[in-house]
């Protein structure tokens, strides 16, 4: 299996994603340069965190127009697995591959800290290895992580179980106190209708090793690996 990590000018967490999947979890990983429309046979694509294009105009606003995104959009609409982390989530929303927007944190400041999120749906290839209601500890590091969508979209997301992660207390309670950035309904991550595209603000690649404070992020990454392996095992 081959994982691809897209590199935009200004991406910072590309190496972290590469390291977590490649070195920690032993997967084949390659970098995909933003100017290439060739996904080079990758089975899953990751849009990493960072400040693509310096967050000029709006975060993710410019990255969505890069050549690689045309390929990513085709790949996603064809059912390919796409994970957007932090800036990657912002880019997916700008590109229309996920609904809603990420606005400035209500505190108006950048926040870097460990947070707990509750797994709301295990019916995705990203959470199949988790248990419903499981609490995962992963760090956030963003100034624009405040998820918002209109009432109708929120109703759709809830009806279709597209809310995958919500900010929660360590015991798994969805509270205002547990919400670091004001996100609507404590939403930390959502998936597409078809469930093959996931965007989340927390960084699973920073929580793939106990030595860094939490290995819970590996649950998400291992789910992806297992899902891809299962897909491969199915006879054509």
């Amino acid at each position: 299996m081959q994982f691809g990590v897209v590199v935009f000018p200004g991406s910072n967490c590309d190496h972290d994603a590469w390291y977590a999947l490649g070195t920690v979890l032993g997967q084949n990983v390659r970098f995909l340069w933003h100017q290439s429309e060739n996904l080079e046979g990758c089975d899953a694509v990751i849009l990493p965190g960072g400040f693509s294009y310096g967050d000029y105009l709006r975060t993710g606003a410019i990255a969505r127009f890069s050549p690689v995104m045309r390929a990513v959009e085709r790949f996603a609409r064809g059912g390919g697995m796409v994970l957007g982390i932090c800036n990657g989530f912002q880019i997916l929303c700008e590109a229309g591959l996920l609904p809603g927007v990420l606005m400035r944190n209500t505190g108006l400041r950048f926040i870097c800290r460990q947070v707990d999120v509750r797994v709301e749906s295990v019916e995705t290839p990203f959470t199949a290895a988790a248990e419903a209601g499981q609490v995962l500890r992963m760090p956030i590091a963003h100034a624009e992580g405040n998820y918002f969508c209109d009432a109708r979209t929120l109703a759709d997301l809830e009806r279709n179980s597209q809310i995958v992660f919500r900010y929660a207390s360590p015991e798994g309670r969805i509270t205002a106190e547990a919400n670091p950035n004001g996100s609507l309904a404590n939403i930390a991550g959502i998936c597409s209708r078809e469930r093959n595209v996931l965007g989340l603000m927390p960084h699973p690649e920073r929580a793939a090793e106990a030595m860094l404070g939490s290995a819970d992020g590996a649950v998400l990454l291992r789910s992806m690996i297992a899902s891809l392996a299962r897909a491969r095992a199915v006879p054509a």
């Binding site: 910072n12 390291y19 977590a20 310096g54 950048f110 030595m211 860094l212």
Partner: protein
């Protein structure tokens, strides 16, 4: 001061006078020296060039004579002071390059951009060496952020704005660039109200064979300008901003503050590291203070060659810039490099890939001159070596202050008095309280190397992929003690930074310094500087930590008043096994808490903290007293403690370590609890001195550690081997935080109260519109 500009005349036509030279910051003697070097009058452009290169900030003319006394050698030193950053061997064929730098004056005038470009500047110094920056730490000093004796509400409000702007500026630059800001210190003293200090430390890692230096060579080799376009920002940043006092007109210096774009710098970083891999780059230097001028003449001078440049070829983002403008511009995110003739296309292709300008603007020449052309004419022609290296070296007059530091009485509490209210006050004071409000604005985890981030331990700890090693970094400065006794204060700063590194389990390996002082033309300031240098030298020699580079910031005065002499030290340590890294938080209920004392058995009968208590955080916060002398620094005791801590970490004999410093033992214990997962402590110290001294005295060479009850005997034996006293003082528990002196319980509070006092204070103070009375 405004630089006179005669509109309509080319700078080469303006007749330079000695008065004009004075307006540029050059003395009569310096101007005479310029005439001698050139053998003629300089033109206006050349005057500008000399004025920045010979400014205090660029030439170190007041400090060089003293800096020579710093110990800079050691088997681990690959590159000492003199290049863009110091370099030390860290094993496995890897080197670490690190340096501390100041951006004080710009941060007062424009806190956001001043701090941001301070970060940008030091990052470039690291990657110009061929190393990828992996961490940033910052040492910040402001005036009080709430009104108190000597600071009115308006000043406190301005200090809050400065703090806010500086922190946002550091976050803006570091986060977007993608380097974690993993630690630092923040201090508040009245003397910094008009002169905040912003010192930034950056660390990078490289393979030894991938190191680059800034020595131009090869006659005929092309000189390439890479990075952002040049504009008019920051002109005279070095000479008029960094090398002069502030007065009522300082607001007018805002155009001298540089403007940063961290996204461009990130592209520049990736492009430079990639271009360096081609093997076609001969030398490279970043454009910092005095931009194009300093980078060209310094690279030329180091290589014993000259550089010929044509400013018409410089990428410009403003129209109508003169040669003077372009040579003095401090536009950010630019580098100057020398490539191998015939291979320059390999280099420019990399920069094109990253969307950056890369233009050949000159060549290396054999005649040793910096020769600059503009619009077809030669506009400056100066011997590079004289410009870069022959600024005057001043032996400025030194005069110790007339009055010796007077002992000051501190009211003492009655025996057995309840010290809990005072304890909570010290805990909540901005100097001591948790800095979480600040560091959560920094991405301290990017690049997934951070093992101990801000607040986790006394030093930041970063793993070194793909080895088993880790690096520890601490930055500590000292203003208040240095004012009372500059030599002792400087020794204490070195000792504290080294002790902090040792508390993470690492061996202190090398150091960098940033020396923040007032106007060097004042003999008392020069005396402080000289004393501080001697203190640093003595401590670095004793602790075997060579100084590999650093920075001097003079002229930190406003309206004639100098700041406290403030030497700041950054110490780098090495951990052979990353998994042995220690934090400060207690780890297990029932663990035993011990006080390690490098004084050894003589600690039992040592003179207590009585003589130095008047210089403590407690004395200042509770009684408004600052005087007397700092605690004497015993370097032998510090060294023994440091070596023990390294050994204890290696052998996993302890599970936490935190040194005793600001606020004393009671504060140390509170912080060990606050950093833990909800634990508390019940502790007792012997009543050999008054309770206040025992609990809040700040004598060094001490650390609080904890270990499993089964391991205590082993730890005490180990400590004994190193000549360090290990006294059991308590046990990790839950609920009540209790500290007794002898049989009297002097501090007693629920742990939630302790955590809240320490944890919530800074946020409350900064985010209120009205200042506390």
């Amino acid at each position: 001061m405004r630089v006179p500009r005669k509109s309509g005349m080319l700078e080469t036509e303006v007749r330079v006078t000695i008065e004009m030279a004075a307006e540029h910051g050059l003395t009569a003697d310096e101007y005479a020296r310029v005439l001698k070097i050139l053998g003629r009058d300089p033109n206006f452009t050349e005057l500008g060039v000399f004025s920045v290169m010979w400014s205090e900030h660029c030439s170190y003319k007041s400090s060089r004579a003293h800096l020579r006394r710093l110990p800079t050698r050691g088997p681990q030193v690959v590159q000492g002071p003199g290049e863009n950053a110091g370099v030390v061997d860290i094993g496995d064929g890897l080197v670490a390059t690190f340096k501390l730098e100041s951006h004080n004056h710009p941060s007062y005038v424009e806190p956001f951009q001043g701090a941001a470009t301070g970060v940008g500047g030091i990052l470039r110094d690291i990657f110009t060496m061929g190393a990828r920056p992996i961490a940033v730490l910052d040492s910040l000093r402001f005036g009080p952020i709430s009104a108190e004796v000597g600071t009115d509400a308006a000043t406190a409000a301005r200090n809050r704005r400065l703090l806010d702007g500086v922190v946002r500026g550091i976050a803006f630059y570091g986060n977007c660039f993608g380097v974690p800001t993993v630690g630092g210190e923040v201090c508040f003293e009245a003397g910094y109200s008009g002169n905040p200090l912003v010192n930034v430390l950056a660390l990078g890692i490289a393979k030894k064979e991938d190191l680059f230096f800034a020595r131009a060579s090869g006659e005929g080799n092309p000189v390439l300008y890479v990075g952002a376009k040049t504009g008019r920002d920051g002109i005279h940043g070095a000479s008029l901003l960094a090398s002069a006092e502030f007065n009522e007109l300082s607001e007018e210096k805002r155009p001298n503050v540089q403007v940063g774009d961290p996204f461009l710098e990130k592209l520049l970083l990736e492009a430079c590291l990639e271009a360096m891999q081609t093997g076609a780059i001969v030398a490279i230097q970043d454009m910092g203070a005095a931009g194009l001028t300093s980078s060209s003449c310094e690279m030329a001078s180091r290589g014993g060659v000259g550089i010929d440049m044509d400013l018409d070829l410089v990428p410009q983002r403003e129209t109508g810039m003169s040669a003077y403008d372009m040579l003095l511009s401090e536009s950010q995110e630019r580098m100057l490099l020398v490539a191998e003739r015939g291979r320059e296309d390999e280099v420019t292709a990399v920069f094109a890939k990253w969307g950056l300008d890369a233009v050949e603007i000159g060549v290396v020449s054999g005649d040793g001159f910096l020769r600059v052309r503009h619009r077809g004419a030669v506009v400056a022609e100066i011997p590079a070596q004289a410009l870069a290296d022959e600024a005057p070296v001043y032996q400025r007059p030194i005069a110790a202050p007339a009055r010796a530091a007077a002992a000051v009485a501190v009211p003492s509490a009655a025996a057995g008095a309840n010290l809990t209210p005072n304890f909570l006050r010290v805990l909540a004071s901005p100097a001591v309280a948790s800095k979480r409000w600040i560091f959560e604005q920094y991405d301290y985890m990017v690049r997934t190397n951070t093992l101990d981030g801000p607040g986790a331990g006394d030093a930041a700890v970063l793993r070194v992929k793909p080895t088993r090693r880790a690096l520890a970094l601490a930055v500590d400065g000292n203003g208040r003690w240095s004012r009372l006794d500059p030599r002792m204060g400087a020794k204490a700063a070195v000792a504290e930074a080294a002790r902090n590194v040792a508390c993470s389990g690492a061996r202190p390996w090398a150091a960098t310094n940033c020396l923040n002082f007032g106007n060097p033309e004042k003999p008392e300031v020069m005396w402080q500087f000289s004393e501080a240098i001697d203190g640093i030298a003595e401590a670095c020699l004793a602790l075997e930590i060579p100084i590999t580079g650093g920075n001097v910031s003079f002229y930190n005065d406003t309206l004639g008043r100098s700041i406290d002499p403030t030497p700041v030290l950054g110490v780098l340590g090495v951990l052979e096994e990353a998994e042995c890294a220690l934090g400060m938080g207690f780890r297990g209920e029932g663990d035993i808490v011990l006080l390690l004392d490098g004084l050894g058995e003589s600690a039992a009968t040592a003179a207590g903290d009585a003589t130095s208590f008047s210089s403590s955080e407690y004395a200042k916060t509770i009684h408004g007293v600052v005087g007397g002398l700092p605690p004497a620094v015993d370097l032998g005791a510090e060294k023994r403690l440091i070596r023990l801590l390294e050994a204890a970490a290696r052998e996993k004999a302890i599970v936490s370590a935190h040194d005793v410093s600001d606020g004393g033992l009671a504060i140390t214990l509170a912080e060990c609890c606050a950093a833990s997962e909800g634990f508390s402590v019940q502790a007792k110290v012997k009543a050999t001195q008054p309770a206040e001294h025992a609990c809040f005295g700040e004598r060094g060479a001490r650390a609080v550690v904890s270990c499993d009850a089964q391991r205590v005997a082993g730890l005490r034996a180990l400590a004994s081997q190193y000549g360090v006293r290990a006294e059991e003082i308590g046990r990790v528990g839950r609920g009540a935080f209790r500290l007794a002196c002898g049989e009297a319980i002097v501090v007693d509070a629920a742990i939630e109260i302790v955590r809240e006092a320490w944890g919530g204070s800074l946020k409350r103070l900064i985010e209120t519109e009205t200042s506390a009375a």
